[in-house]
């Protein structure tokens, strides 16, 4: 997660860009020197994917229908700057604040969610967000106590403390609260094509679950900030 000291200013710029359509995203796909050969390969790739997969449990073949962002993020290289900006603007536009206006839940519940890597596979019974974990420790360090953590994402140990959040309810903390909520809701708002799942946007976690994860990261009492 990038440290964003000036989230409000960036947000304003991105909102200004948000009017650009989804079609523009597709146009941002990498082009090659051989468009005809590339198109033939596109067609055979599509046919191969269609023929190779089948439905199993909750994991249906419609999961292979890429949205514009997924398609733009599948080249293996970072998107061009203009494309990245469009993706970030469109992603930011999807972020909804919590309906009850509360951003922080219970950090202990957040820790449980962070530990859980469950959800959305063909061996899971339900695709409801209540059946899903946050998968956080798979990729991030969070607390000192849990040493079994992954490194695909940056360490989030002392996340709130390092960003000077002493009172999450204070106006001074608001930009960091908004940024962190946005990051959990749709990580691509701040980092186009990030590896991090878009938890709110894709309905992977509900508001309550995200509030618990917010507390895990930002509550000064959380084990993350000790």
């Amino acid at each position: 997660m990038k440290v964003n000291v000036n989230a409000n200013a960036k947000k304003a710029t991105l909102i200004a860009l948000a009017g650009l359509g989804a079609a523009a995203l597709v146009a941002g796909c990498a082009t090659t020197a051989d468009p005809a050969g590339s198109q033939a390969l596109d067609a055979s790739f599509k046919a191969m994917m269609q023929a190779s997969f089948r439905d199993e449990g909750i994991a249906k073949v419609d999961r292979l229908q890429q949205d514009a962002g997924q398609a733009a993020c599948s080249s293996g290289a970072a998107p061009a700057e203009a494309t990245a900006k469009r993706i970030e603007a469109e992603s930011l536009a999807t972020v909804k604040p919590p309906s009850d206006g509360k951003y922080l839940g219970d950090w202990k519940e957040g820790e449980k969610l962070a530990q859980s890597g469950r959800g959305m596979t063909w061996t899971d019974k339900s695709a409801a967000s209540s059946a899903n974990g946050g998968n956080c420790y798979n990729c991030h360090q969070l607390t000192k106590a849990e040493i079994s953590f992954g490194t695909i994402g940056p360490s989030l140990y002392n996340y709130g403390k390092l960003r000077g959040v002493t009172d999450p309810a204070s106006p001074a903390a608001k930009p960091m609260i908004d940024y962190t909520w946005g990051k959990l809701y749709n990580a691509w708002a701040y980092n186009a094509c990030s590896n991090m799942p878009r938890f709110g946007h894709k309905g992977l976690l509900d508001e309550k679950q995200m509030q618990h994860l917010m507390a895990l990261l930002l509550d000064p009492k959380s084990a993350v900030n000790q």
């Binding site: 390969l41 055979s44 790739f45 191969m48 994917m49 023929a51 190779s52 997969f53 089948r54 439905d55 199993e56 994991a59 249906k60 073949v61 999961r63 292979l64 229908q65 890429q66 962002g69 997924q70 993020c73 599948s74 080249s75 293996g76 959305m120 596979t121 063909w122 061996t123 695709a127 420790y137 798979n138 990729c139 040493i147 079994s148 953590f149 992954g150 490194t151 695909i152 590896n195 799942p197 878009r198 894709k202 309905g203 992977l204």
Partner: protein, 265 residues
């Protein structure tokens, strides 16, 4: 037996959990060493060799005339050159899809039915043992997939696309976990499969005996579980996407020494 292995693995990994200086891979390496004279994969290899030579199926024939790419009956060195183009089927095939062809043409078994059978059941048990033995016959040899045929090159390109293809509810691709150097999921080291990850790592380590489940996993099963964790739909056994990924990973691993069948956590 499984419990004993798990216990030993626990001992081997115990130190690494206390001291971060030692990675899970080191623990596994230590565990492998302890089992040098008794990798349980050997049991599967012996069974696989028997099954290769045994007369079976409606045609009551063995697989000894099966052409794995180096001529009928040549097993040694075949594994490190698969997947490759086969003129008789006019397809690029990996080990498992090629075995299905041989089982159907030589033995009269139903390939489609075997492909539909769940892992660990029925003829899939035969496939695991055959894959274990055939890969063991190339142990220590270097990965050397051919890329001369146009179809082999095309499958490499398709595999590369599949590798970076993001989809599903979590936007994952193969590259999410295997597209950067020196990354981990929890304590599990992840090979970077965009290039050669080194001797006995990634494509050069499967099939493998999985200690945690007490099972022999072929590359097909490994890829199947990758896609499960990617939150994708179910890839067909020996489907083209799995073969294309095999070409991509195998060609990238050119020159890496194969340790298959390896032993995994």
């Amino acid at each position: 037996m499984k419990r004993i292995f798990l216990g030993m693995l626990g001992v081997a990994l115990g130190l690494s959990v206390q001291a971060q200086t030692k990675s899970a891979a080191d623990g596994i390496a230590e565990y492998r060493k302890m089992l040098e004279d008794g990798n349980p994969a050997e049991l599967f290899e012996a069974k696989g060799e028997d099954l290769w030579k045994k007369k079976r199926g409606p045609k009551n024939a063995s697989l000894e005339q099966c052409d794995l790419g180096k001529g009928p009956g040549v097993v040694k060195g075949a594994w490190v050159e698969l997947p490759r183009w086969f003129a008789d089927t006019r397809r690029v095939q990996d080990l498992e899809s090629r075995l299905l062809t041989c089982m159907e043409t030589l033995q009269g078994l139903n390939a489609a039915e075997i492909a539909r059978t769940p892992f660990g059941k029925g003829e899939q048990v035969t496939m695991e043992a055959l894959a274990a033995w055939i890969s063991a016959e190339s142990r220590g040899m270097k990965m050397a997939l051919p890329q001369a045929h146009a179809e082999e090159q095309r499958m490499y390109q398709l595999g590369q696309r599949a590798f970076f293809f993001r989809g599903g509810p979590m936007d994952f691709a193969c590259s999410t976990c295997h597209g950067e150097k020196d990354k981990r999921i929890r304590l599990q080291d992840l090979p970077d499969l965009r290039s050669n990850p080194g001797d006995g790592i990634g494509f050069a380590a499967w099939p493998a005996y999985r200690v945690s489940s007490g099972e022999m996993w072929s590359m097909q099963r490994r890829l199947n579980d990758c896609y499960r964790q990617q939150r994708f739909p179910y890839p067909g056994y020996a489907s083209d996407v799995t073969i294309a990924l095999g070409v991509y990973m195998g060609v990238n691993a050119k020159g890496a020494a194969s340790i298959a069948p390896a032993i995994k956590r």
